[in-house]
Amino acid sequence: MRRFIFIFIVLQLVLFGIELTQLVQQHLVLPWTTLLAQACVAIVTGFDANAAAMGKVLWNPATGFGVSIEPGCNGVEACIILFAAIVAFPSTWKHRAWGLGLGFVAVQALNVVRVISLFYLGQWNLTAFTIAHEYLWQGLIMLDVLVVWLLWVRANPDPMADAGTGAATPAAA
């Protein structure tokens, strides 16, 4: 357990620090955020012709309302937490790779739902938008991370393979 916590915290700090660098922001985070906005528009325009994307802003030219996808809204931090939790937990690299791949898809898929829901909530009611944006979706995305991680841990082929112990309950160790 101590090993898991130590690696998890170190990975968190390193990855979060890397994410904040100008280089990564410019060449990875911002393009990803723009791609996310375009993906949301592609989905929304399937049933609503009024939506448009301008960089990382998803907006409705008819009403003038738009949502800008900022840090914390692009799912990157949630992916970092999941990444750190999966890599830190004793497992095989093959199992970790499945977890990282499917976890990334699960987090980003829910994030697309979040952005689209906020886009419509904001046009309907700004108070509801604020509550959903600042509180509800933050928690739901983290619950998504927890669900993916617990399922991944539960499906772990040999959780003690890396730990070098025979204990069956690493969380309580």
């Binding site: 914390g72 937490i81 600042e134 933050q138 928690g139 927890l146 617990l150 539960r154 309950t169």
Partner: protein, 209 residues
Amino acid sequence: MSLQFLWTPPKSLWRFFANAIVLFLLLTPMWMQVSKWTSYPVAGLTQMVLNVGAGYWVRAVNKEPGRIEVETRIQVQVPGSNSSLGVAELVAEADPARYAYGLPLFLALLLAARSKRWWKKALIGYLLLLIPQTFSLVLEILRQIMVAGGRPGALAVDQWQLEAIAIGYQAGSLLLPALAPLALWLWLDQDFFDQVVAQGWRNRRQKGN
């Protein structure tokens, strides 16, 4: 695709997930009604931290349920004025509950897991969550001072200190508020992890033997 990854978890785990989501959605609006009171200690702790750690900047801290106001010694130019009469002292303010939404998340996980002595764990969790919430609020206020205060010279700090505030603010606003309740729940509710999650390994190990 790894068949083991697609292994179906027990109903108890799915029930836990569903209950956690529903409870979080129910508890958050309830928490919003009382958040100004439950987060009042965060304002008190923030005042203590600011007085100790940023005493040079802080002249006074005024707090009331739902609001903390920090009067600083930092002088800023009033927009639209260029004379010495247009100088004012910077005031930073924030809602102490802004980064406290982890409390309903923590309680939802605790209740969804049907934790034993949940009320005791809830109390411990509430008290421990005040720490990361204070960290987030302190950094929120320092960020406001940094952004409005101008260059490092005007704030009497080094560039690295400003960068530390910027990184701390990012961590305090983006990571800690949602991560802290999950980590705390996993720590306080190890029985759930052992019985529902780790049991899967034991079952498969026994089948393999």
